[in-house]
Structure formats: structure tokens, C-alpha cells
């Protein structure tokens, strides 16, 4: 990189009144290319303005130096024009006179007429000709800052230095000025160094963002490259795939800095205070635990379903807080939004349907592969297959009955709903249909719908049935529009239903946070499986911000006996929602492999020849084991895949991991592309 401006190992030390020294900035080095826009960001008092003033030459570094085009900066000069936060316009001069003062002072060699031309050009650049003869006191803040920018640019500086240029302006003016500045910089290829505390401003304007740690001894914490192409527009930038991850990186960094300084301050209190040591040392311990996490504030996505209970409980009962996590829950409308949120970094982690990590890691229709990992199964079972009441009237009580009904009027095209291609609902419903001799791709019409819309579609006749998690089956039963023909206890009792999914790079960058998150959720799961708590959890779940369903039907199966809606008396289904008992939380490679065979069977994902490596990467057994051990549970070391383990569904062959392809081949009903093997190049894991 050709260094145009170089900040070379700069320290700034201020002498203190008591004879001590205050090290404001320590050992800062970076280089800026010509035409580059670089932002300095950090909390107030981190010395970012001091650094800018040293580039301007208004202050001298104590150690090190600033080099512009091979020459050391020793004093201020017009080749490094500064735009100050408070505009610094001379109030006794008009807009034109303010600019003219600068132009006349700096461009002495030019004839008078030419200098006047430069002034007028600068006025036009910021569209201030109508205000040219006004005094600064007659201008708004935004106009004043435009004058300051015009004054700076009129001198054609090599470097434009901006010290929180838009800090004092309202949001609307700020947006307009940012756009203008961007355009001017683009057109005249000015090299810019800007100090700001606004994350979005830095992202919008900069090619690189340099983040400074808190003072004293502030240094460079992290440098971010902003790879968003130019010209940029405010509204488009936020849609760029990198935007949210860059933004969250910055917010995370600033957040960490804030916590660090708070800890420092609290540390001092503890040192100087006396008495109540026990309480304080406990407080310190708590802070120490949370400090050791790479990230404390997390964004977690969920879908309104009964089995989001562990997430709601972890939040409401303080399990997250106990682990030093500050979690914001995001209720998403559908599973695609969950996947999108995790991929673009808006969400740190999310509740996912069991097949989603695999589907996203492998190539899945319409999305580029993004490695997703899981270290925790959040829930097992909890689904049912609901059919419309008209089928009950037609005498459909079993799978065989349904086959007959479909065969009777094949032209009708029965519509069945599932929530996501990679969800257990889809895979189990298809398996069930196929076992009954119904080809889900030919004999019925399968459609993807968000869980909360299932019952409504059944009511309106757009669907004849669906497979979904509760309370959306119970709702159809409760409203009298549907009945449950089978629960997943009838299909595969104890199948993994929801898992905790995070991006692989996230997991590698935040190993401790990941363990803490898993710990909090395991505690919550344990809490959920104590039936004495179910009534309380039901009340929590039914709040509008979570599931927002009526407790009358949400309680069925979760708390009370399960009503199939067939007129038979409700039956108790004790294992219908399983969150903890029977090793429910263990992420299992064998189960993932079964899911993989089914995803491939129905042509949803290819089957990787290196499936064993893929699963090794995907299932974070270690994180789960560590979390369980730290909680004092026995993780029951399912580290490897036990050779004798098999999965047996209600019908069909037993599944063993030995010959997954043969298992797929053994099914009569499958997608024409099923069984195709490809080699998946796993992207190399980034370990921070």
C-alpha cells in the first residue's frame, strides 16, 4: 500500500498538575492511501480528536510522528484543512468573506479575479450562493457546517480532517450533509480522516474504520474494512450483506469498551471501600465472569410456538442474566427470516428447525452455503398432523383412509402445509405420506407457510391439512376446523425438533459466549420440564410479545390432556413437549445424518460424500459437553457415534449410519435426484 499519510508510532503524553504524566494515546500507527476515507471511532475521551489535531499539526505528538507525502508534519497548514465540530466561522464576516479570508490567505500567488472565482466555486459546491452575504448568526447549524466544508475544500487540501463534523446537527440535516460530503469526496478524490462517534455515519462514509480503545493509553482496538461499493446511498447501504455484521462488530467493540471502563471504575470503588466485602467480592466475581465473555449483549431470534418456551423462560426467569448475558429477543414472522437474520449477522443465534443448520450449510435452494453449527437441541416432539374437518366427515381416521380419500378424487389436489423445507414437519409429514403410499410431490400439493398462518388457511379451505408445532394444531381443534390424525409420538417419539443455531464463524469467535448461552438455555429447558412450572410458563408464553395465542388451547398437550378433535376423549400425552428429560438437549450426529438422508431424499440438499466431516463441523458436541459439566450434569459422553445406534420410525427400515445412501435408495417414493453424491468444499473455518 502506498502510504500517503502515515501516523507512525504516535504517543501523546500530557504532564499533570501533580507532576505525574497522563498517557492519552499510546503507540498508534496506521497508513492512509490517497483518496481514502478513514474514520476514527471510540468513546469520548479516547483521544481521537487529539489524534486528528496531531495530523492537523495543531498539537505535536510526544513520541513518533505524522508523515504526509514523505514529509513530517510539524505545524498546521492549509494542505490539511480541518472542519471543526463547532464550525469555527468568524461571526463578523459573511459567508463569502469567511471563505475569501481563507482563499486570499492561502492562494496569495493567484490574481485577484481568479481567487474570487475560487470563492464562488466553493459557494456553489455546497449550494450556498443564496446565503453568501449572510452572517453566520443568521444561518442554521447545517448551513454553517456547509460553509466550513466549503471553506476547507476551496483550498484544495491534500487531506480533509473532520472532527465530528455532523455531531451538533439534527438527524435530517446530518443525512443530507453526509450525502453531500460523500458526493464531494467522490468527485474531487479528497483524502479524508474523520472523527465520529456515530456507527452508521462511519459505515456510510468510510473505506476503513479505525476503532480506538478507551483512554488512558488509548490504542487501536480493531480496524474494519468497509467493503460496500461506491457510490453509496443511505438506503441501499443498509441492505448490503456486510452492513449488519460490520455494524454489530463496531457496536460490540464500543460496548466492550464501555463495559471495560465501567469495570475499571467499579474496581476502584471496591478497592477503596471498606465493609460489606462479601457482597462486593461476589459482585466483582459476577462482573469477572461476564467480562470474560467475548460478547455480552446478544440478539436471539425465535418463532411464536409453544416450543420457544426455553428461550422465553431463559429470558423471563433470568437464566441469561445469570450467565452474564444481556439478550434481546426478536420474534420473527417465519423461518426464512430467522435464517436470513443469522446469516447476515443481525441475529447472534436463533431457534431453528432441526434441519436448518444442515440446509444452510449445504447448498439450499436460493441461498449460498453458510456454515451453521448447533450445540444444543432445544426441544423434542411437539408436532402433529392436522387435517380439515371435511376429511373426518369423509371417514379419514388413519393414513390408509387418507390414501383412499386422495385416490377417490385425484383431480382435487389436496393441499398440505409445512413451515420450512428443512423442518421436521416437512420431513416427517413426507415420510408419513410416503409410508402410506402417497407421493408428497405428486399426489398432494405441499406448500410452505409460517406456523401462525396454518389454522387460518385450513379454515379458509386453502389447505386440507398441515404438520406444525403447537399451539397451531390445537387452535384448529379448538376452533372446530380441524382434527389431529397423528402426533409425532406416533411417527418418531423423541425426534429432535428445534435446535440452537449460530454461524460457524460466530461460534469460533465467541466460544465462551456460546457455552454461556447453551448453559442458560439448558437451565431453562430443565425448568420447562418440571411440570409444576408449566402453568407459569404458559402464562409467559401467551403474552402478546411471545406467542400471543389464547391459553385455552395452548395448554393442550403442553399442560393438559391432548384433544385430537375427533370426538374421542382427550388423551394424556406426557412426552409431547420434551425439553430436558431423557438427554433431550444432546445434539446428535446420528439424528443429523438421518435428517440429511431425508433432505436428500426429497431433493432439498445434495448428499455430501464427506458427510462425516460435514457433521463433525456442524455438531458442536464439545460446547454442549462443557456446558453440561459446568452445570453439574453428566453429558453422557455421546462424543462419537455409538456403532449400535439406530433410529426406528413407526414404519420403514431401521436407520444405521453405516450406509446412508443405501437407506435413501431403499425408499420407493423419493425425488428423482435423490441419492446423488457430491463433494462439498467446506469453507475453511476462521478461528479468531
Amino acid at each position: 500500500m502506498v502510504a500517503f499519510l502515515e501516523i507512525d508510532h504516535v504517543d501523546k503524553i500530557f504532564p499533570l498538575a501533580d507532576g505525574g504524566r497522563y498517557v492519552a494515546i499510546e503507540n498508534i500507527s496506521f497508513k492512509i492511501k490517497q483518496g481514502e476515507f478513514v474514520s476514527l471511532i471510540g468513546h469520548s475521551g479516547c483521544g481521537k480528536s487529539t489524534l486528528l489535531n496531531m495530523v492537523a499539526g495543531l498539537e505535536r505528538p510526544t513520541v513518533g510522528g505524522v508523515i504526509l507525502e514523505g514529509r513530517e508534519v510539524r505545524k498546521p497548514g492549509p494542505d490539511r484543512m480541518v472542519v471543526f465540530q463547532n464550525y469555527s466561522l468568524l461571526p463578523w464576516k459573511t459567508v463569502r468573506q469567511n471563505i475569501a479570508l481563507a482563499v486570499n490567505a492561502v492562494m496569495r500567488h493567484l490574481p485577484k479575479g481568479e481567487r474570487r472565482g475560487v470563492v464562488e466555486q466553493a459557494l456553489d459546491l455546497v449550494h450556498l450562493r443564496p446565503a453568501a452575504d449572510k452572517y453566520p448568526a443568521q444561518l442554521s447549524g447545517g448551513m454553517k457546517q456547509r460553509v466550513a466544508i466549503a471553506r476547507a475544500l476551496a483550498l484544495r487540501p491534500k487531506v480533509l480532517l473532520l472532527d465530528e463534523p455532523f455531531g451538533a446537527l439534527d438527524a435530517l440535516t446530518r443525512g443530507n450533509l453526509q450525502a453531500q460530503l460523500m458526493q464531494i469526496c467522490q468527485e474531487s478524490q479528497v483524502t479524508c480522516l474523520m472523527v465520529t462517534h456515530d456507527v452508521d455515519e462511519a459505515l456510510l462514509l468510510s473505506d476503513r474504520v479505525i476503532m480506538l480503545t478507551n483512554g488512558p493509553s488509548a490504542h487501536i482496538g480493531q480496524i474494519l474494512e468497509v467493503d460496500i461499493p461506491r457510490p453509496r446511498h443511505r438506503l441501499e447501504v443498509v441492505e448490503h450483506p456486510s452492513y449488519y455484521s460490520l455494524r454489530s462488530d463496531m457496536v460490540y467493540f464500543l460496548d466492550q469498551q464501555k463495559r471495560a471502563s465501567r469495570r475499571q471504575r467499579r474496581g476502584q470503588v471496591i478497592q477503596t471501600g471498606t465493609g460489606a466485602e462479601a457482597v462486593r467480592s461476589q459482585a466483582t466475581l459476577q462482573i469477572a465472569t461476564s467480562m470474560s465473555l467475548e460478547k455480552n449483549s446478544l440478539d436471539l431470534g425465535f418463532i411464536p410456538l409453544t416450543d420457544c418456551a426455553p428461550i422465553v423462560v431463559a429470558q423471563e426467569k433470568g437464566f441469561f442474566a445469570q450467565q452474564g448475558l444481556e439478550v434481546t429477543l426478536h420474534r420473527k414472522p417465519n423461518w426464512r427470516a430467522i435464517a436470513q437474520g443469522v446469516i447476515n449477522g443481525e441475529l447472534d443465534a436463533a431457534q431453528m428447525v432441526a434441519g436448518m443448520p444442515l440446509a444452510l450449510t449445504l447448498e439450499h435452494i436460493g441461498t449460498a452455503p453458510v456454515p451453521i453449527v448447533t450445540a444444543l437441541t432445544l426441544s423434542r416432539n411437539g408436532n402433529a398432523i392436522t387435517l380439515g374437518k371435511h376429511l373426518l366427515a369423509a371417514g379419514v381416521r388413519t393414513l390408509a383412509d387418507l390414501k383412499v380419500a386422495i385416490g377417490r378424487d385425484s383431480s382435487r389436489g389436496y393441499g398440505l402445509g409445512v413451515v420450512h423445507p428443512a423442518s421436521m414437519h416437512n420431513l416427517l409429514l413426507r415420510y408419513w405420506l410416503a409410508e402410506g403410499g402417497i407421493d408428497p410431490d405428486w399426489d398432494v400439493r405441499m406448500s410452505i407457510l409460517p406456523p401462525p398462518q396454518m389454522a387460518v388457511n385450513l379454515k379458509s379451505g386453502k389447505l386440507d391439512g398441515y404438520c406444525v408445532g403447537e399451539p397451531w394444531n390445537a387452535r384448529a381443534v379448538y376452533e372446530g376446523t380441524g382434527y389431529v390424525v397423528a402426533t409425532d409420538l406416533d411417527l418418531w417419539d423423541g425426534h429432535p425438533e428445534k435446535v440452537l443455531g449460530v454461524r460457524e464463524d460466530w461460534a469460533n469467535r465467541h466460544p465462551k459466549t456460546h457455552v454461556a448461552l447453551v448453559k442458560a438455555l439448558i437451565q431453562a429447558c430443565e425448568y420447562c420440564d418440571n411440570h409444576e412450572h408449566r402453568e407459569e410458563i404458559l402464562t409467559l408464553l401467551c403474552q402478546p410479545k411471545y406467542v400471543g395465542a389464547a391459553p385455552d388451547y395452548t395448554r393442550l398437550g403442553f399442560l393438559d390432556a391432548y384433544d385430537y378433535g375427533t370426538g374421542d376423549p382427550p388423551q394424556p400425552l406426557p412426552g409431547f413437549n420434551r425439553f430436558f428429560q431423557g438427554q433431550a438437549n444432546r445434539p446428535d450426529r446420528l439424528e443429523m445424518l438421518w435428517i440429511l438422508t431425508q433432505l436428500n431424499r426429497w431433493g432439498i440438499t445434495p448428499f455430501p460424500s464427506n458427510w462425516s466431516d460435514v457433521l463433525d463441523r456442524l455438531v458442536y458436541q464439545d460446547v454442549f459437553n462443557q456446558a453440561m459439566q459446568e452445570l453439574g450434569h453428566d453429558p453422557l459422553g455421546h462424543a462419537g457415534m455409538p456403532p449400535d445406534a439406530t433410529i426406528q420410525l413407526f414404519s420403514g427400515p431401521a436407520f444405521t449410519p453405516d450406509h446412508p445412501l443405501a437407506y435413501i435408495e431403499s425408499f420407493a417414493i423419493k425425488h428423482p435426484n435423490a441419492g446423488q453424491m457430491i463433494t462439498v468444499d467446506l469453507p475453511t473455518a476462521e478461528v479468531a
Partner: protein, 280 residues
């Protein structure tokens, strides 16, 4: 409704409407002031009614000084001159003394304001000298200058100069760092800095000093003239006292007050002319 009524009225010229609105706005203020003055005069009249009052009542003052009021321009030679001439003589002394103190005061102020060392050295001296009452300077200036006229002018000069020096010096020190930074970045020469930044930034402070200065000069001249004699409003008052013409003293006091107020307003007005764009 509002439109139809305003249309039905005959339209007045714009300037006239503006004056009318202005008057309307101010009339309440005027009315209040006028009634206060009237009340004051009334009470005075009541207290000073009867035989041998301590002060003549307003009616008597007006009656006795009527000649002075209607003819301020008479000149019978010596000190027997109309009030206009008396005031003009005083103003002349103030003009000379005050101009001198403004020139010297601003120069010294800029000098010590821009030099921390010098400021530290002389500030204690100034702090002591500025508290000396104007009249206390009179004997020493008479002794040094040996003549009434220059002595009176010196008293004005020495009275007015302290607030001018101190305010100017503070103004120079208070030039915002931002403006200095602008000058440093633009690499302005010393002269350019003075004329474009230092002086304009100091103007409001200087004029605050000048306003205090002019008030003090007027204060000083009246007192000084009582002692040194000659033509002037101060001596006029003293002369009237010696002749027991209480009514003349009262009318002269009124004139002194009005002139003092006008002087202050004039300096303020000039100050506004020198600060275009208003100061932040």
C-alpha cells in the same frame, strides 16, 4: 371573516402602519413611565407645598428657571452663559479626555492582553489604581500640570482608562481557541491575524469598557468642575448653590442625567456599528 373585515378597511401606507403598530406596542410602556413621573412630581408637590419648604416644589422650579429653559443659548460673558454652553464646555473636556483614554487604553489593553508575562506584572498595579476615586486624582494632577484645564482633562483620562484597559485585555485573552486554530491552519500573518481575528473578536469587550469609561468620565467632570471653576455644568451647579438658587440646581441635575444617558447610548450605538453579524 377576518379577510373581509380587513379588506373593507381603507389601506394605509405601509410605513404608517408600521409606526402605528410600533406606537401601539410602546404606548403601554410610555403610559406607565409617564404616570410614574407624574406621580413622583405630584408627591414632590404635596410634600413641598406650604411655607418655607426644604426644596421648591416642581411648579416653583419651573417658574424660577423658565428663563434658563427657554433660552439655553445666551452669553453674557464670563461664566454667565446659557445651559447649552455650560454643557458643551463640559462635553468638550470629556471628549478630549475620553478620546485620549480610549486610544491609550485600547493600545495598552491589546499589549498586555496578548502578553501573559506583562499582564501578570502590571495587573496588580491596575487593580489598585482603578479603585482610586476620580476626585482623589485632582490635587496631584493640579500639582503636576499647574493649570485647571489640563488637570480636569487628566482626571477624566485617568478615570476612564482603567475599565478600557482591563476589558480590552480580557477580550484579547478570550479570543476563542477555534479562531486561533483557523488562523494557524491558514497560516495568517501577524497583521492579518490582528485585523481579521484579534480585533473583531475583541470589539465587544472593548465597547463594554468604553461604555463604563464614558459613564465614569461624565461622573468625574461634574465633580472636577465644581472644584476648578470656569464655564461648565459642574461649576454652574456649584455657583447656583453659592447663590442659593435651588431651582437652578435641580434643573441642571436633570440635564446632567439626560446627557449622561445619551452619552451611554451613543457609545453603545457606535459599538453595534463595529460588530457586524452580531457576536456569538
Amino acid at each position: 371573516m377576518a379577510i373581509s373585515t380587513s379588506r373593507s378597511q381603507p389601506t394605509l401606507p405601509r410605513w404608517l402602519t408600521r409606526i402605528l403598530i410600533n406606537l401601539q406596542k410602546r404606548s403601554k410602556q410610555w403610559l406607565l413611565s409617564a404616570s410614574a413621573i407624574f406621580l413622583f412630581l405630584l408627591i414632590w408637590q404635596i410634600i413641598c407645598a406650604g411655607d418655607n419648604p426644604p426644596l421648591p416644589p416642581p411648579t416653583k422650579v419651573l417658574e424660577e428657571t423658565w428663563d434658563l429653559i427657554i433660552d439655553p443659548f445666551f452669553d453674557n460673558g464670563g461664566t454667565d452663559k446659557g445651559l447649552f454652553w455650560q454643557i458643551l464646555a463640559s462635553l468638550r473636556r470629556v471628549a478630549i479626555g475620553f478620546t485620549l483614554s480610549a486610544v491609550v487604553g485600547i493600545s495598552v489593553g491589546v499589549l498586555i492582553g496578548s502578553n501573559k508575562l506583562l499582564y501578570g506584572a502590571v495587573d496588580p498595579i491596575f487593580q489598585v489604581l482603578r479603585t482610586v476615586p476620580p476626585l482623589a486624582w485632582l490635587p496631584i494632577s493640579l500639582a503636576a500640570l499647574k493649570d485647571n484645564e489640563p488637570a480636569a482633562i487628566f482626571v477624566i483620562f485617568i478615570t476612564a482608562i482603567w475599565p478600557i484597559i482591563i476589558n480590552t485585555a480580557v477580550g484579547v485573552q478570550q479570543v476563542p481557541q477555534d479562531y486561533k486554530n483557523v488562523s494557524r491552519v491558514l497560516q495568517l500573518s501577524r497583521m492579518e491575524y490582528m485585523s481579521n481575528i484579534l480585533l473583531p473578536a475583541t470589539v465587544p469587550y472593548v465597547f463594554t469598557g468604553l461604555r463604563i469609561g464614558i459613564g465614569l468620565s461624565w461622573l468625574a467632570i461634574v465633580a472636577a468642575e465644581m472644584l476648578i471653576g470656569g464655564v461648565g455644568i459642574g461649576f454652574f451647579i456649584w455657583d447656583a448653590w453659592n447663590s442659593s438658587l435651588i431651582s437652578e440646581i435641580i434643573i441642571a441635575l436633570l440635564y446632567v442625567g439626560i446627557v449622561g444617558l445619551l452619552l451611554d447610548k451613543v457609545v453603545d450605538f457606535i459599538g453595534k456599528l463595529f460588530t457586524p453579524g452580531g457576536q456569538q
